[in-house]
Symmetry: C2
Subunit: 394 residues, 2 copies
Amino acid sequence: MSRPLVVDIHTHMYPPSYMAMLRARKEVPYIYDPENGPPRLIILSSDDNPAIPLHQRGRPIDTSYSDIDVKLSFMRQHGIDCSVLSLANPWLDFIHGKEAITWAQRINDDLESTCAVNNKDEDRDRNESRPLDEKQSLFAFGVLPTRADPNDIVIEIKRLGNLPHMRGAILGTTGLGNGLDDRAMDPVWHALEETEQLVFLHPHYGLPDEAFGGKSKIAQYGHVLPLALGFPLETTIAVTRMLLGGVFDRFPRLRVLLAHSGGTLPFLAGRIESCIIHERGFMDNGGPVRGPHRSIWNVLKTNIYLDSVVYGAAGLQAAIEAGGGVDRLMFGTDHPFFPPLSKDEEKWPSVMTNYKAISDSCGDDAPTAASILGGNAIRILKLRLAGRSPRCQE
Amino acid sequence: MSRPLVVDIHTHMYPPSYMAMLRARKEVPYIYDPENGPPRLIILSSDDNPAIPLHQRGRPIDTSYSDIDVKLSFMRQHGIDCSVLSLANPWLDFIHGKEAITWAQRINDDLESTCAVNNKDEDRDRNESRPLDEKQSLFAFGVLPTRADPNDIVIEIKRLGNLPHMRGAILGTTGLGNGLDDRAMDPVWHALEETEQLVFLHPHYGLPDEAFGGKSKIAQYGHVLPLALGFPLETTIAVTRMLLGGVFDRFPRLRVLLAHSGGTLPFLAGRIESCIIHERGFMDNGGPVRGPHRSIWNVLKTNIYLDSVVYGAAGLQAAIEAGGGVDRLMFGTDHPFFPPLSKDEEKWPSVMTNYKAISDSCGDDAPTAASILGGNAIRILKLRLAGRSPRCQE
């Protein structure tokens, strides 16, 4: 085998039906079609700023968001053998009740079918006269109707568990609306644990505008503050609240994949643990806090998985150290976000930066790099890549 | 030399005059003296929660906050040869105009005198019959009257530059009130750059309560969310705004020491740089953003210094990698915060955790550990430790 198998576990899509629904909306999240220029995807509340003209709000959007052939072409260009697709934020967090259930079923069936058709599409393989070992595989994380009745969420989780190409569910940090330490989440955690599905925890809401100095300050620097800092902190706060709320004590077999290498969790884990130990000391003196029973280091090595979308060796090394090695770290691209800046660039700089961080961190240790690039995902998600002998996947 | 010199560059005090001033106040920041039990230090807005009884708000406070002999005793217990003292938050951010100038002069003169008296106190050394090489040295970062006229701040910076034990100034993330990318800060940066003093950038304000799910959610987990997550993110946002605002382009020789190993900057640097590059691409297409000219990696290796107060090897390794090596990393304790949980503990677990992170990261490489523990601080801050031959300090 000349090169390791590469699996992208952080790669998003909006199915065409979801795109049409966004186009019909006039408030966040929505798509705006200007007369000239590409459509704009306006999903962040900080982007919905009346001071910014509509045709400059949000980000331009193209077919890479919804066309599976564009995804497959991106995969070929970047040497990606397998993608585990997920709906991009804000998922179904803004759709309530029965309507959310209908959307979840529709999107999950659509994703499942996309994977199934692709993985079995022998005709296309022949037509493109590609050798067998260049066949690309697709799997997916499903979406949950987070604003529906928790019983209905559980039903959809169990249904996902029986779809052959589904490997878990993507979930935002608000959970059912009140955060992931909300006790009302317990049936959801229970169902995910029981069906042995991974939760892909992903940010969307960022931080309150005031954290960055207000809306106009954010606008001054474009998307940098909300995307570079708000997103990772949102993830870190969410998983810390899970820990503090005892979720990992109550559901010790729950498996959570954290987007963007955990936000900042690997870096802050020591500080979080130190603060919890101190708080527990004060608690014994009459303070109000209940502490979690398990240490954050234990949770990091038992329940948490990280992607490698961290754009540098510094972050990646913290992720490796916090996870007790590379076994829980999996390659990702965040496609179709962070596209190239110019049409001339065939390879995406954002993706190449993440590839480089892995090679910088692993040096000459090819087996370690291979485990991050694909081996871990194949093992953890029990992937069977189409057109490969099982031997190549070990 | 049997062991390396240890310099603590992150260690706080409240002079007795400042304590008295806090005691006279009834709103944040203030000290409350219950009839039974130790006084409470209530400095975080999240602690000033009417739902929490006064005697449980904030944190208990003892003489370690104001008594230099307690500090020296702590240093002896933990093998610390030199401390670079700084006023603890919230400094003078809540005192305006001329009153702030008076306070800054008073506190800085007090700190200078404390250091001078200690470093020359031959009598005390003899009385305690300690060998010469156990003499402890003190230096300090001054405080600035941040809510005074910028011209007066500049005058105090220049005065600090001439005090023999001062090595720079501690600064909160709000700067003069509008953040560190405020152009009104430019004379301050200029004066600090010209006088070659270090800025010790330190958090206090954390994040808006809503970032954590509101006041009652914060109270549920004690101080964990604001201290473990709010503080480091505040620092990261502040320094990112400096970068985005072009501060390091306009003041290329400015030197900034970031508390808590940069908050989360080493971990997020790659993501920040990636987001800036993408934003600049969009800017060229008509977006509103001006980007900084220098890359974050260059600023990290030129202008930024980090303490080692990160409580774990994962964070420390990111700090080392982001700084291009250990040369810009300096040991710290955050004393007197994070004290032991029981009176039986002679050594502070928080301090020992930070010592252990250094030894875990450096392995058998004693010279590297020594540079983090003290060598870097001695070189960067031009410290001359009392009672040591110059040879020991190289």
